[in-house]
């Protein structure tokens, strides 16, 4: 047996992405197959191609939506039989205009001359990607233990709210103390909020999906209530449910100078990717997490405290989502916390984790992609007057298509994965 054929411990583990996408490896032949899986084969018939096609398909549907709702397209469609070229020109204009605007908003703006302004969109993409990556890691690590953390929203709001309290309440602290303190407090509160779901699953068997959904709302109303109390988050003398702005000493510093909005949060996200990768693939805890995710019965039989792993995983997941909330409060929106601080990231994180197949590096890539969608989407809305919600549609379609490779194969008439 050559080295390449040997099953390495980090290759074997559960992949929540697989549970999502394919028949789980349940019988002997599939596990054997996955061991000898070669890259070429993966690209030819495996999930990589299906992933690319899923993105293509989703973008295609998005294009149809852009075209169908465009004024000029609808006008020219009235006389499409008389002058089809007008119609196709209009479709091209609408769709290419939209995607050009997205590109200009997400990567490189060719309409300006100053290099700094040209590359500014890319830094915006990275800024938006930061919390998405952190959130994706939080959902993804729970997936690795076969838990579904839908509680991203609540964990972000609670973590962000707690960090905000530290961020504006303590005056006169030096940055070196204030900022880490606010970050840690945010992570701890996020972890506690996530940990509730893990603890309840461990102790009573309460399903984490239900508990985390409900905790989203409880967290929302809790922060809403805190925003009405002066000793908590309210701005004295203001009826707006919004906290005072953060102290200068608690704000995540900008990493590329003041002309770019990119702040330290993205660096924290990169660090988190590394840490989570190490925890999952190299640590004993990660081994246990994967074991529980693959088969809790077997894990229990081999002496792993399954309930404890559930609790720990949700604590880590909550901490990561709390950090995503911190990222928002102390980095992106420093003017004060409100109940919409999560900006949909709690749910976006689920799609990021699914697209990244619950692997830290995959989540990094998926977070960057969705960050680019987000940055580009806002530009598209501003310049082409196409609703940024299109991005939401494309994202969810990508995940849906990705979740069902047989469907994508059927659409593109690819051969079925017989050998798998």
């Amino acid at each position: 047996m050559s080295d390449a054929d040997k099953p390495r411990p980090d290759e074997k583990p559960v992949d929540a992405g697989d549970t999502v996408t394919e028949e789980r490896p349940q019988d002997a032949e599939t596990t054997d197959d996955s061991r000898s899986r070669s890259l070429l084969r993966e690209i030819a018939s495996g999930n990589a191609l299906a992933g690319v096609l899923a993105v293509v398909l989703a973008v295609l549907v998005g294009s149809v939506m852009i075209a169908a709702t465009d004024e000029t397209v609808r006008e020219t469609a009235g006389y499409v039989t008389a002058r089809p070229s007008d119609f196709f020109n209009a479709v091209w204009e609408a769709v290419s205009g939209a995607y050009n605007a997205m590109f200009r908003g997400a990567i490189f703006n060719n309409l300006v001359d100053d290099p700094a302004r040209q590359w500014r969109p890319l830094t915006e993409t990275l800024k938006y990607a930061g919390p998405l990556i952190l959130g994706g890691l939080g959902v993804g690590i729970a997936f690795r233990a076969a838990m579904f953390n839908i509680g991203g929203r609540g964990q972000m709001i609670i973590g962000g709210g707690a960090a905000a309290w530290v961020g504006f309440r303590f005056e006169g602290l030096p940055t070196i103390i204030h900022l880490p303190l606010a970050i840690v407090v945010g992570m701890v509160f996020g972890a506690l909020w996530g940990g509730i779901a893990g603890l309840l699953k461990a102790r009573t068997g309460a399903h984490e999906v239900i508990v985390t959904i409900m905790l989203n709302y409880v967290g929302y109303y809790l922060v809403f209530w805190a925003l009405t109390k002066d000793w908590l988050l309210a701005t004295p003398g203001s009826v707006n449910p919004k906290s005072p702005p953060m102290q200068e000493s608690a704000i995540l510093p900008r990493v590329l100078g003041d002309q770019f909005n990119l702040h330290l949060g993205f660096v924290l996200a990169l660090v988190a990717v590394g840490v989570v990768w190490w925890v999952i693939n190299r640590s004993t805890l990660g081994y246990r997490i994967r074991a529980v995710g693959e088969n809790p019965h077997a894990a229990r039989a081999s002496g792993i405290n399954v309930g404890w792993i559930y609790t720990v995983v949700m604590l880590i997941a909550g901490a990561l989502l709390g950090l995503a909330g911190v990222n928002q409060v102390l980095g992106t929106v420093t003017s004060g916390v409100s109940t919409d601080i999560d900006a949909g990231i709690g749910f976006d994180a689920i799609t990021v984790a699914l697209l990244g197949r619950s692997r830290p590096l995959g989540i990094l890539a998926a977070g960057l992609l969705f960050g680019a969608f987000k940055a580009g989407g806002f530009t598209m809305q501003a310049q082409e007057n196409i609703s940024v919600d299109l991005v939401l549609v494309v994202q969810s379609l990508i995940v849906l298509f990705l979740a069902a490779p047989p469907l994508v194969r059927a659409i593109f008439r690819l051969p079925a994965q017989e050998a798998k």
Partner: protein, 434 residues
């Protein structure tokens, strides 16, 4: 002969509690007396520490009644204490039954809840008026979409398909109802369109969950996001520029039922509602009857509890599941029409406000039973209506905590503190023929 992999594996994402970890303690009968006792003592403590004097008026009639009931004026403190005594008596009865190992009948918690609520209201509304009709009638109105959604959820899960997409079904239903009713000028056409839209979401759910074995919870969550994105996009691109022609439906009018509507107290609460509410009454009765009393219902439950056995006796498992979730989606979709054709005229961004998730909570709190889920949805509607009433009265309970209540109750319910919730055995487990 076909066999199946219907072993509920934890990684399958089903909502069945993970049996590996559950230390199942059978102590359900001890919980009820404890909870009742805590609630009764809690109310007594509130009264002792923040006692209020004065009278409370319970207004039972409405201004349009022919033979109205008189207002009931009671001394606040005395009534509240009387109700605490009633509560304690019921708690004592629960304790007696616990010690005698007798089952706890339904009337103990229900009676306790009623007495506790009257006591609480007479304290909270000291020197004020409680409009009983608007309190209860408003609760029903607020609960309508929740009941529709919960029925959709119950049906789907009874057939073994977890329906997290209730919120998406409600939202697309609201969207389709607004457009169709605006175009046709008939709210009834809008209602039909809402049902079809809900069924459409269910069809996609079925395609992924039943045909392609994708994790049902994930499909549900992603579908919700998809519908939010889709309706938001269409709202901004199409509905807002053409609001006059596409988003200005007629609302369902309030239609009092001739004789029933004149019954004091009951009439104004139940029978002076919109047609959608009457449709709801019929559907609740139909679903409850069909699920337990017809061959169809037996098959649905069989497919959800033990698909392999159902398959063995010749029931087409996946076909049954498809049909059931289409029906479930249609029912949930009808609830969507309530948002855009009853409570306000027209569609708006994310107008369900997460009602689908409360409906999901009602499904679980109602233990996957249509009647209990309906009652749970009514309870949640009551909680949010009570919050509105109390904030008008200037009650000391912050409104956010009242709004939080359904979710907290649900967490307690799934954690097994309020009776044990057991989902259908094959809930969330795809069925593969081999």
């Amino acid at each position: 002969m076909s066999t199946a992999t219907d072993q509920p594996t934890p990684e399958s994402g089903g909502l069945a509690p993970d049996t590996v970890v559950v230390p199942t303690k059978r102590s359900g009968s001890r919980k009820l007396p404890i909870i009742l006792g805590v609630l009764a003592v809690g109310l007594a403590i509130v009264l002792l520490t923040a006692g209020r004097s004065g009278d409370t008026t319970f207004r039972l009639a409405t201004d349009t009644d022919f033979a109205g009931l008189p207002d009931i004026v009671v001394p606040s403190a005395a009534t509240a204490w009387l109700m605490i005594v009633v509560c304690l008596a019921l708690t004592a009865e629960a304790v007696r039954r616990m010690l005698a190992h007798v089952a706890q009948p339904m009337w103990i918690p229900v009676g306790f809840a009623a007495a506790w609520m009257v006591g609480f209201l007479s304290w909270a509304a000291a020197d004020g008026r409680i409009l009983v009709v608007s309190l209860l009638g408003g609760a029903i109105a607020l609960a309508v979409p929740l009941v529709f959604g919960a029925l959709g959820g119950v049906l789907g899960e009874r057939a073994g398909v977890v329906n997290i997409a209730i919120d998406g079904q409600l939202l697309l239903g609201a969207f389709a109802a607004a457009i169709t009713a605006s175009l046709t000028g008939s709210p009834w056409a809008g209602l039909v369109a809402a049902g079809l839209a809900g069924a459409l979401v269910a069809l996609v759910l079925g395609l992924f969950a039943i045909t392609y074995f994708v994790d049902q919870v994930i499909v549900g969550v992603v579908l919700n996001v998809l519908v939010v994105g889709l309706t938001n996009f269409m709202f901004r691109q199409v509905l807002t520029p053409n609001a006059a022609s596409l988003n200005s439906p007629d609302r369902f009018p309030r239609v009092p039922i001739p004789v029933l509507g004149e019954i004091p107290l009951v009439g104004p609460i139940f029978f002076r509602q919109t047609a959608v509410v009457y449709v709801l009454y019929v559907i609740v009765a139909l679903v409850a009857w069909a699920l337990y009393r017809t061959r169809w219902g037996l098959r649905v439950r069989a497919v959800g509890e033990h698909p392999k056995a159902a398959d063995t006796v010749g029931i087409k498992v996946n076909r049954t599941r498809y049909r059931t979730i289409l029906l479930a989606g249609a029912i949930a979709g009808l609830g969507g029409a309530y948002f855009s054709l009853v409570s306000v005229a027209g569609f708006n961004r994310e107008m369900t406000g997460g009602a689908g998730y409360i409906a999901l909570a009602a499904v679980i709190f109602g233990k996957w039973d249509p009647i209990r889920a309906t009652l749970a949805a009514l309870l949640f509607g009551f909680a949010s209506n009570l919050q509105g009433v109390l904030s008008v009265l200037g009650s000391p309970v912050p409104s956010q905590f009242m709004l939080m209540l359904p979710y907290v109750i649900t967490i307690f319910a799934v954690a097994g503190l309020v009776g044990r919730s057991r989902p259908p055995a094959a809930d969330g487990v795809p069925y593969k023929q081999q």
